[in-house]
Symmetry: D3
Subunit: 265 residues, 6 copies
Amino acid sequence: MSVFMEDLDAFTYRERLATGNRLVIVPVGSVEQHGPHLPLTTDVLLARAVSGRLAQAVGALVAAPVVYGYKSQQRSGGGNHLGGTTSLDATTMIAIARTLTHEFARHGAEGVIFLNGHFENYQFLYEGAELATRELAARGSDLEAMLLSYWDFVDDATLEEVYAGSFPGWDVEHGGVLETSLMLHLHPELVDLGRVMDFPPAELPRYDLLPVRPELTPASGCLSSAARGSAGAGRLLLERTTTALTEAVDGAFQRNLVASTETNP
Amino acid sequence: MSVFMEDLDAFTYRERLATGNRLVIVPVGSVEQHGPHLPLTTDVLLARAVSGRLAQAVGALVAAPVVYGYKSQQRSGGGNHLGGTTSLDATTMIAIARTLTHEFARHGAEGVIFLNGHFENYQFLYEGAELATRELAARGSDLEAMLLSYWDFVDDATLEEVYAGSFPGWDVEHGGVLETSLMLHLHPELVDLGRVMDFPPAELPRYDLLPVRPELTPASGCLSSAARGSAGAGRLLLERTTTALTEAVDGAFQRNLVASTETNP
Amino acid sequence: MSVFMEDLDAFTYRERLATGNRLVIVPVGSVEQHGPHLPLTTDVLLARAVSGRLAQAVGALVAAPVVYGYKSQQRSGGGNHLGGTTSLDATTMIAIARTLTHEFARHGAEGVIFLNGHFENYQFLYEGAELATRELAARGSDLEAMLLSYWDFVDDATLEEVYAGSFPGWDVEHGGVLETSLMLHLHPELVDLGRVMDFPPAELPRYDLLPVRPELTPASGCLSSAARGSAGAGRLLLERTTTALTEAVDGAFQRNLVASTETNP
Amino acid sequence: MSVFMEDLDAFTYRERLATGNRLVIVPVGSVEQHGPHLPLTTDVLLARAVSGRLAQAVGALVAAPVVYGYKSQQRSGGGNHLGGTTSLDATTMIAIARTLTHEFARHGAEGVIFLNGHFENYQFLYEGAELATRELAARGSDLEAMLLSYWDFVDDATLEEVYAGSFPGWDVEHGGVLETSLMLHLHPELVDLGRVMDFPPAELPRYDLLPVRPELTPASGCLSSAARGSAGAGRLLLERTTTALTEAVDGAFQRNLVASTETNP
Amino acid sequence: MSVFMEDLDAFTYRERLATGNRLVIVPVGSVEQHGPHLPLTTDVLLARAVSGRLAQAVGALVAAPVVYGYKSQQRSGGGNHLGGTTSLDATTMIAIARTLTHEFARHGAEGVIFLNGHFENYQFLYEGAELATRELAARGSDLEAMLLSYWDFVDDATLEEVYAGSFPGWDVEHGGVLETSLMLHLHPELVDLGRVMDFPPAELPRYDLLPVRPELTPASGCLSSAARGSAGAGRLLLERTTTALTEAVDGAFQRNLVASTETNP
Amino acid sequence: MSVFMEDLDAFTYRERLATGNRLVIVPVGSVEQHGPHLPLTTDVLLARAVSGRLAQAVGALVAAPVVYGYKSQQRSGGGNHLGGTTSLDATTMIAIARTLTHEFARHGAEGVIFLNGHFENYQFLYEGAELATRELAARGSDLEAMLLSYWDFVDDATLEEVYAGSFPGWDVEHGGVLETSLMLHLHPELVDLGRVMDFPPAELPRYDLLPVRPELTPASGCLSSAARGSAGAGRLLLERTTTALTEAVDGAFQRNLVASTETNP
């Protein structure tokens, strides 16, 4: 049975939440250029897919995604001046995270997991969750929010396997091997490998300048090359990440978590 | 070729926007209970589908959807106290509409159409678009925003055909014949007609009370019965609505609009 | 004795609130052009007058009015581009409704009724009252807010009597028969019937465009003609509306409501 | 002819503004306890009356009043904990002043004068006007905002005449001789001198404590006694103040200001 | 031992707060031109120094200062158009006061004293403290906030001694005798008496105009002359003010306050 | 001559800014526990000191510091639940960065450099600077904002020299070798090495949990041990960092930057 709230009617959702582990995973993405070979909603699709795997594994539900994210920054996403990239301000992202935490608490959730798929979102999700959990605690609720970016759960061995020593760092992974491989595994029809621009990793300064100087972003909009990407690497990354995330959620919420197929027959 | 931004890479999106009619349609939905027979994201799915048909007809692009909407109100959506319904505050909705208008203006759009699929959203989208277009006009931009709810384009003849005299009013159409028929036509796998609760239309007072009194909302969460719904009625509603919307957009933007298959070969 | 807070000193106000039905009615208006024959504060004057009648009938007090309202929209008030129309932003209207609800709760009110006289205000009053009542409920208060627009309490029989089959719909009633008749009955010195521009009802599209296209608004600024208006119709409308409102408030607050002259000797 | 916007239709308002001195005076008051002998809206009534006199003298128009004001502070108004006192937050007051400045600029005003009748409002009106005039200047507008509290225009000779050496300071004038005398002159039907509590001026500390300690506020809610108030003193205060304000406005806007009866025949 | 939080490690701070009088004094200043003879952070330095003396006397701790303040106003600080003056908006000042009150409450403080050194800040600190103490009270906290401007504690005898009959009023004391004398006493290395411009006190109107008319501010940026300032006067002012403040704090918090050297051995 | 705005009068500041490189460096810190051996304002002191060195080298001025910063997060600063840590919300930090950028632009600065000394601040400074530079660009200003955290300019060779292979990562450097060494070099009187708690680096999870679980933070509040810290390492770190920052600023602003002692004789 589907773990995605989007596929459920309200009666089923309520029953699943009440009888399951009371965990809701919120995938958070962005609408952001990802070069000529990946779709604009790559971050949404990947956050949603990882959330689905994780929800299956721990008996959680997946909320409808937060589609639009915070502004793309030049050092991690090419910059928000690029056409197609469509972003929200900080206060809006904060408000979204804050309100959704309150709403899932109202539904009876005991844990809300923001699973982030867009580097720039993190601090704003943090602030929203911080405000909401503080407000909830003041009213006696013990809801916990968990925040994470899925790539932080790729271990060094997997990095070595996938990148063979050429891992350029997460900051310039934008539109690179990780995202391309995962998309090739999950949504191959939306990837056009023939359009990959094979540049060496971008060398961006250790500071930000605003307004951005467009010439610092590579022509591709990607910060490292996706040429090494493959569906096989994508499958591997997804499996390893899901396993590590499952352990993390299991540990954090200290429960006997069982796969959703069992808890929700 | 797809009119959905979600399916396009940034390079293609930019080219399509620059060479097309420079119109972007933003579907706006909600995550809201729609009774036991429809999924929580019914409003998103319908706004997105109507937007796609309209975009095909007028040569526009469809933005990634605004998934979460304003709070469900008891007289039009059953109330925001119900489990599953997951909503944003007014200021957040306003900020989303305001920022997206600015972002599509930055991309080079000349018209942004907010196609609303959730009754309660309208005034907040209006405020966001009003603020943004005023700010843009002060800088010399002549971007225009258009706001509409798709059901306002169902004409009386179609209402008569679909409802056979039993049209209960748009305010109580929540989870009723219109939405159910459209879903049966577009996403039959997400509808379970066997779970429809066949009540007469809800009789709600001419005022709002807050906090809501839950007993005023029917047990189904729907404000009128979907029992008369059918895929055929859905197809008819979609066709008629698309035609009326196409005329409206054509008239509003006073252009020689051609179907996107021609303008974007 | 006056039911208007504006006429009372604080000691009397406190006593009246403590010994009466603990209901406060807040009239909400606007400063908005109403054609060449009605004053700019028509909505304030009418909301205030209806509030006074209702307060007399149910034993409530009338708060000082909220004078400025939300922006006039082209399809219901001619548009906010017109000279004389002077409006507040959405967040300000929300803040006003939210704060006033809290303030009257602090005074000891058990019910706060926002009696709206300007079409465009409703959703923003709703949001303000929603936020305040939620916050109050979290602190153990059981204050209830009621929201209504007074014209929703004009029944079909009265419409038929007043309009004789020519009722154009509430959305285009701006500056039309209802408002003009009520003003003729209540404030004849502020109405100049000789300046009425007798046009057929405006035909506005089913969508909003921003910035508004001024040419869509009739030269009068009114959306339907006031030529049929009369003091007699005004008296009838006021009586019928007051009666219906009294029943509604009585029903909503489920009390033995007695006229204020009795409860507050 | 009336100088009050509230009495004018939009066509007349526009003509008056276009052909007059293009000055709009906005009276700003409060809903605040003023002891047992004065009504809750004393500040609104006085600001409105002074504005009317000033408008007559300088050829300006008077906007509809800002009725609700900033919170009453213990050292100048008794404190916001008192029943009947009904106040807005700082950000709301700022937003009101900011938006109204923009709105009157849109109408074609060249000067907006906030005539304050409630001590606590001043800094928030200042901030609103500061933000708006800065924004307007950035767009090329040269609208000027003027801010003043009317009692600052009572000269020492008049103070001596009215108080005969017992002037207690403006901070504790709340509900005292000035306001009571003006009300006796302007709205005697709303004053009940028999209810004046004749205490010596309150001795409040040189600091604020929050939450306020209610016992520091006199039982009357007034900070000085109104017993010396008289209609004659009120007339004198109104005349002198109007004269001084007229000179100030004349000087500030450096125009040949003529009484409105002449400029607007 | 230092009473300044800035000099303490967290462990020592916690111990001092827990075993002392649980009072935290927050010095609030500004970055504002103070003429050619005083540094831009004069208000910060003075608020911090007075806070230190007061903390010693009453057994409190001094928080790190709020360095930037509200906009300089022409009638009290020369105006915010002047180079060097660097100010925050009202909502930011309010947020700072609100948040700091909450933070010190979280640390276990029972009283938070905002000791203001910049005329224009007061109302915004008030609003922030008002919001925070109301929120804290709703949660059962009995934290009290105290707000004061240090010059309000200079008594008439001292004024006479220092100004010898020429006291120009606090509003035009900006960069004048008080601040210069205190700086000569406390930070003589930052004062250059040779650069004092010896003008008579500025004669500013009884109203504000925005945008400000720069020609109304004296060329020095000071509103009265500092020529009479001396280190001796500074010492006297500091001593007298500290004594009066100590009495006020002692009285307000009604405790047996002992000098910090004793309570924190 | 001092490069610190805090030491300058307004006339000197204006002259220095007008005749120098028109760069203003804003040190941004925090009030945050840094273990038992470092003062609460360590981040302010270090950001200020590095800013001073940099300003000397490139001919810039140093603004008064932003003292309070964003909430301490458990994975980079121990968490905001700890006593002594005193933080602002995200929207306040954003507003501060936004307003200061506007203020220095008004003074005539062409570049504003936010030199960050507290890990958690970065994204909020970015948002503030992004909003301000966008607004300024819309008005024709070409002011540029630069954002950086000073530790990002410590190169690998220096890390090796200082840590001898034991560098634990910047995220857990809180209260560790870098900060302690710099403080020993710059403010030895505020460091108490005898109080260092010598634990191995904290092992925090790859996610955040809110409310934080206090037991995850080491008892010291530090995330790695400062035992290896020394004044010599501090001097080395300061020199190398200043050199790298100077090159970065020189490169970014592409000017012939000369040391301030020459440009401002």
